[in-house]
């Protein structure tokens, strides 16, 4: 029995069960015109793959990889939603992973976002409180995969509240939270960086109301975030840096 067009095209696309396929092949063996047509259609598919599959291996242009990034940056401090956090961290993490020039900028944004999300938190600002500081630092060190320290910022007027673990590029990121006498909070965001990194000087970025100083030290990236004047935050960042590099 002559197969329908439907069956012939399903044959072209390898979507027939074995029995129907054999039936179509039996027909094609004695119907040269249909066989030529089917061969041509299969050749079309093969030619499409040959012509366009190489696109899959091309590097994705920056303008596509960063779609959504610029728009979201303006909303950083407002975007206290979980959705925005997850979305942006995932998105920026991707940029961080693949693109060095954007990597540090993304890093500071992730830090600012994490700050914007967690620092207003009243009941659960941290996962592990400062009372269990030793446990906190050991736990975060283990998860981040590097020896971490929670700097003491008493001289700068802030005390450790505690810390939490966050998802980041290539794994876990630690966030330490500090609070001053008026309840104003600072967060230190520490991430292990993939590959070889060069140490950097302090860099500053402003994500809406959140100021961020960030730098690379060895295999770790640090970002200190807070709603502070730049000069004040710089003082704290310097103290953090000195404690990590005594």
């Amino acid at each position: 029995m002559k197969p329908s067009d439907n069956e012939l095209h399903a044959y072209v696309d390898d979507r027939l069960d074995p029995e129907s396929r054999r039936a179509v092949e039996a027909h094609l063996a004695q119907a040269p015109e249909d066989a030529a047509r089917v061969a041509a259609y299969r050749e079309q598919n093969a030619a499409l793959h040959a012509a366009f599959d190489p696109v899959l291996d091309e590097p994705v242009p920056d303008r596509l990889r960063h779609v959504g990034a610029t728009r979201r940056a303006g909303r950083v401090a407002v975007a206290a939603g979980w959705l925005a956090l997850g979305a942006a961290i995932g998105w920026f993490a991707n940029a961080f992973l693949t693109d060095r020039p954007h990597a540090l900028v993304s890093f500071s944004r992730q830090a600012a976002l994490a700050h914007a999300v967690y620092s207003p938190e009243v009941r659960h600002p941290v996962e592990v409180g400062a009372a269990e500081q030793e446990h906190l630092v050991n736990w975060l060190s283990k998860r981040v995969g590097a020896k971490l320290r929670a700097p003491v910022l008493t001289a700068e007027g802030s005390e450790l509240v505690g810390g939490r673990l966050l998802p980041g590029e290539g794994g876990a990121v630690a966030q330490f939270m500090y609070q001053d006498g008026k309840g104003k909070r600072l967060t230190l965001y520490v991430s292990r960086l993939a590959g070889k990194q060069r140490d950097t000087a302090f860099r500053f970025s402003q994500e809406d109301k959140v100021s961020v100083f960030y730098w690379i030290d060895g295999t770790l990236g640090y970002a200190l975030s807070g709603e502070l004047p730049k000069a004040d935050l710089l003082g704290v960042a310097t103290a953090v840096y000195k404690q990590i590099n005594p």
Partner: protein, 166 residues
Amino acid sequence: MNPERIAEHIPRLRRYARALAGDQHAADDLVQDTLERAINKRHLWRPGSDLRAWLFAIMHNVFVNQLRSRQAHPEDALDEDALPAVAPTDGAQLEIRDLQSALALLPPEQREVILLVGLEQLTYAEASHALGIPIGTVMSRLFRGRERLRLLVIGAPLVPALKIVR
């Protein structure tokens, strides 16, 4: 939904767009518009449904809008009936040198179906969903499109032409 999940689909969106739009610049414009729209409307995506099909559906809408705004370009506004009659036996008359120029001569709605099914390997049901048309329409466009493409390339074998493609 995490935009990172959308990002995973960028290479395949680019492949489809390149075949659909022809040149790289126009194709990446199409992908960029698609990504922007997808991110803005990501709350409309139903968790558990096929993200790739959803993205193809968005790309289809973007593509159709682009065609509408570019009605002046004859190859985009091409109507199937307005195509020159092709005489399969008269290879010398044909100027179709390769698959891409043949594709460009297809009506866009046939090109879309051929690419979604033949290149992106969507099922008819998925293509129907992505294009917002009944399955029967998917099939008739596919059948007519493939046949037209076959007639267009007769006399200009696909294999040598592929060497042109970088």
